[in-house]
């Protein structure tokens, strides 16, 4: 993949960090303000996609980020299932909000039990998953059959 022009690269360099931070904010404040794991995860993926569109990538780094993103995708999914299974560890049911009774006060960043943790897990999963899809679609130089 080759990169885009100098103007696009400069703007992308300025914007990608902001996009990434905004995605993190949306994920971490998912239980307080509108947004959540999915929206924030898409924003994080958008930051990576912007950088890889603007700067292009060489074969080797593309391949490693491809592996990393699919690993992170599975990791996020496993964390989410693990949080759901934690309900059994606490002697409760699947998806019971085990941490409600010992973390934080309402309306603060640390509150809501497993909800912020689940948001983070979904954010990792969605961000990595969409970036993996983008790499798979954009990276392979496939030719449509006539």
């Amino acid at each position: 993949m080759r990169g885009l022009s100098l103007i696009v690269q400069t703007i992308a360099r300025l914007m990608a960090g902001l996009l990434f931070l905004y995605g993190l904010y949306i994920v971490l404040h998912g239980h307080l303000t509108p947004g959540g794991g999915f929206a924030g995860g898409v924003l994080i993926a958008a930051a990576f996609i912007l950088m890889s569109l603007a700067f292009g990538s060489v074969e080797q780094s593309e391949r490693s980020s491809y592996v990393f993103s699919s690993v992170f995708e599975s990791f996020g999914g496993l964390v989410f299932v693990g949080l759901a299974l934690a309900g059994y560890l606490a002697g409760d049911f699947f998806f019971s909000n085990v941490a409600t009774y010992f973390t934080g006060r309402p309306l603060e960043l640390v509150s809501g039990g497993i909800i912020p943790l689940a948001n983070i897990a979904i954010g990792i999963k969605v961000g990595a998953g969409l970036f993996a899809i983008f790499l798979a679609l954009g990276a392979s130089q496939f030719v449509m059959k006539e």
Partner: protein, 180 residues
């Protein structure tokens, strides 16, 4: 409500453009217009959570489409090529289906409660006690990650399946060199 109908008209128009134009890039942009109109509708009916998701997902969808189209082919010549040849069967289907819908839909709607009237007691419980039961200030987050965690797990499974499917079809790792 007038804005909603204007948006609906615009969505219908751009959906028609998306399905009928030969230029695939224009079709992708028209599809994006439909998505952003949905986002504006979500804002108008005061659903900011969905509006945020819709905006970011739609932006990324258009980027995906544009990236793929720029890499492959710009125009689809098969669109419109069959127009006028097989017009009878689609027309009969369209008219027949339309008549059935027009007869049945008013009957069904007469049984439904008025627009915006809550009938579900479960939802009312969620709205009133979400903060107290879960500690999350955002009721939507409390519902999708606590009360309705199973739904979100299913959603995550759908996304996982989509990613696995795309990676299986499009992967380059493990393929023999030169074979695409």
């Amino acid at each position: 409500m007038v804005e909603l109908y204007l948006l609906l008209a615009m969505m219908l128009a751009s959906a028609l453009v998306a399905s009928e134009t030969k230029d695939l890039l224009a079709a992708a942009v028209a599809l994006g217009l439909v998505g952003f109109s949905v986002a504006i509708m979500f804002i108008l009916v005061q659903a900011p959570d969905l509006a945020i998701v819709q905006i970011v997902v739609e932006t990324l969808t258009v980027v995906f489409f544009a990236a793929v189209i720029l890499r492959t082919t710009h125009s689809d010549e098969t669109i419109g090529a069959t127009l006028g040849r097989d017009i009878v069967l689609p027309l009969v289907t369209f008219v027949g289906f339309g008549v059935v819908v027009l007869i049945l839909v008013p009957r069904v709607f007469s049984f439904l409660p008025k627009f915006g009237t809550p009938v579900m007691r479960m939802a009312e419980l969620y709205i009133r006690h979400a903060l107290e039961y879960t500690g999350a200030a955002n009721v939507v987050a409390a519902i999708i990650l606590d009360f309705r965690g199973y739904d979100t797990l299913g959603e995550a499974t759908v996304l996982f399946t989509a990613v696995v499917g795309v990676l299986t079809v499009m992967r380059r790792l493990g393929r023999k060199a030169g074979g695409h």
